[in-house]
């Protein structure tokens, strides 16, 4: 957090939670981005993501037991795709924290956290369906909203829709 700037209470709580994670994982996580709308940090060493996830869920002073949302994002300029996860500690603490994990845009993979939070199961399937990143260790990684034999990943910024699907013209 930058010195001399006044932050709201919720950002300070997020910062305190981040400090515990940073103390344990050091350089594997990025610096804390203290903004008022969605304070977050990024996981730099993606291989450690499941460990960080378990630590966040189980540590006595963190207890992030509730994953509110997991959104896939296409960072086209950085040649990366990634996920943004919003966590909070439902009924135990007041802190909230967002975590970003990024991987290569073509054929990149992120370790799955579906066994840490059951919610992540379908959210990760959706992120894969829309952006094409693989989630290693996911129990059943397949498309969820698009048909199984759909081509391409629709939410990528450079996505071109296929000409026809089972003989039906697709672009209208």
């Amino acid at each position: 957090m930058e010195e001399g700037k006044v932050f709201s209470q919720s950002v300070q709580q997020s910062a305190a939670a981040y400090a515990i994670i940073h103390e344990k994982f050091g350089v594997a996580v990025s610096a804390f981005d203290a903004n008022e709308t969605m304070p977050f940090f990024e996981v730099l060493d993606t291989a450690l993501w499941p460990d960080i996830a378990l630590f966040m869920r189980d540590h006595a002073r963190l207890k992030f037991n509730y994953m509110a949302c997991l959104s896939g994002v296409d960072y086209q300029a950085e040649e990366k795709v990634g996920i943004v996860c919003n966590f909070e500690s439902l009924g135990l603490f007041n802190h909230k924290l967002a975590v970003k994990v990024k991987c290569a845009r073509n054929g990149g993979s992120i370790p799955s956290v579906a066994y840490v939070w059951h919610t992540a199961n379908w959210h990760e399937r959706e992120a894969y369906d829309m952006f094409g990143m693989l989630f290693t260790g996911h129990p059943e990684l397949k498309r969820i909203l698009c048909p199984d034999d759909w081509e391409g990943f629709p939410l990528l910024k450079d996505y071109k829709v296929q000409e026809s699907y089972h003989g039906i013209k697709v672009p209208y």
Binding site: T37, M38, N65, A68, C69, V84, H118, M130, L145, L155
Partner: protein, 400 residues
């Protein structure tokens, strides 16, 4: 019916019928059968397909297949301006359009730094709570139909019609309103609107009790739902459940209270959770009860809003709406308590464009439905219908 431990008994199946009757079946070769339920099945409330692996009447696995109503909401959002997304949000959860618009408007306003006129906030809460009652009426009515009770359905739709009439009067549409805009409202409410709303509150209060009694004092209904599809609280949280589903499991969690937005902190209402006297905590009946009790709380909120609301003098519902909506660069996750749970939007803005770089809709039904596999294991096929009905899915929001 409860399966006893048969490991080590070979091809013998022991089933306990009641306390003193136990059926032992010997040399019984069981074969698993695949039973496809939906996407046109009436009790799946839309186009949901469940592929059930059944052993006789018992379901060993039920796998949901979604996407039949996928309309590329998120892709559409990246191609239109921020205000133009509002009509799309109506079409997510089409039974609670006002609540979806409310959640979206709140999220974008977090990035905008604008002050919303107080009267706007009150009108928003009134229409959202009216819509919550309408949505719960559909949930309760169709749940009755799923389990063979036809009368409550007609009662529910009779009363829901009044709400839809009121909302149509305010916005011009029955279900897809486009009423709550970013920073304001499309129109002020008509001059007699509040009077009619308070008339409705007086009319509906006894009806809500009657409706609740019609089902929860109906023995068939209770037998079909009590103790069915039990979800413990910690598993429900791990699954990301929210709304009446989570409260049905006994967790007193309501975003209107626990992560307050708009004017909810000023209002007095209870967070309805089952007390475990009629139902088993976490079962289908608990979830139904939460919805039935919540309607009363919504009536309370509406009454308070009507009495506290500032007058319409010099009020322009569009006064705070920016000419050009271009949020600052950044990202935000905003959410609101919808009739079905937490509806959230993750919005990523680059600060230059009038269109979001990314807009993800976190659907409450999508998350609630993801527990289907665990909920249905070992249940009977008719109980599966009771479980789906208690989740109260709207496929428009599941598939987006």
């Amino acid at each position: 019916m409860q399966e006893l431990d048969t490991s080590g008994l070979g091809s013998v199946r022991v089933t306990r019928k009641s306390d003193n009757v136990v059926v032992i079946e010997k040399d019984l070769a069981t074969e698993q059968m695949v039973l496809a339920m939906g996407p046109q099945h009436p009790s799946t409330h839309g186009v949901l397909k469940l592929e059930c692996l059944t052993d006789g009447e018992v379901i060993t696995e039920a796998v949901p297949y979604l996407g039949y109503l996928h309309r590329c909401f998120e892709k559409c959002c990246e191609n239109v301006d921020y205000p133009a997304i509002v009509p799309y949000t109506d079409r997510l959860d089409y039974l609670a359009g006002m609540n979806s618009e409310f959640a979206y408007a709140l999220t974008v306003e977090k990035l905008l730094d604008i002050e919303i006129p107080r009267r706007v906030e009150f009108i928003r809460v009134i229409v959202a709570e009216l819509n919550r009652i309408a949505s719960h009426l559909v949930a309760i009515g169709t749940y009755g139909i799923d389990l063979g009770a036809f009368t409550p359905f007609l009662f529910c739709f009779r009363d829901r019609e009044i709400i839809l009439g009121l909302l149509e009067w305010a916005s011009g549409a029955r279900m897809l309103y486009n009423y709550i805009w970013i920073g304001g409202l499309a129109y002020d409410v008509p001059s007699d609107f509040l009077k009619r709303v308070s008339e409705f509150v007086t009319y509906f209060r006894p009806k809500a009790v009657e409706l609740c009694n019609l089902l929860t004092k109906n023995e068939i209904f209770v037998k079909r739902t009590r103790g069915i599809g039990i979800m413990p609280a910690d598993v429900a949280i791990n699954y990301g459940w929210s709304g009446p589903m989570l409260r049905g499991s006994g967790v007193k969690w309501d975003l209107r209270r626990n992560d307050p937005y708009s004017i909810y902190p000023e209002l007095d209402f209870n967070v309805a959770v089952p007390d475990g006297k009629v139902s088993v905590i976490g079962d289908c009946l608990s979830r139904h009860l939460v919805r039935a009790l919540e309607m009363e709380e919504s009536l309370k909120i509406i009454e308070q809003c009507i009495s506290k609301m500032p007058t319409a003098e010099g009020f322009n519902p569009r006064s705070a709406i920016p000419k050009r909506i271009r949020p600052k660069a950044g990202e935000v996750y905003g959410r609101a308590e919808n009739p079905r749970g937490e509806l959230g939007f993750y919005i990523l803005s680059d600060g230059k464009s009038t269109k979001p770089v990314r807009c993800k809709g976190r659907s409450s039904c999508f998350v609630n439905l993801s527990a289907m596999k665990d909920l249905s294991k070992g249940q009977l096929i008719p109980d599966l219908v009771a479980i789906i009905g208690s989740i109260d899915i709207v496929l428009g929001e599941v598939d987006r």
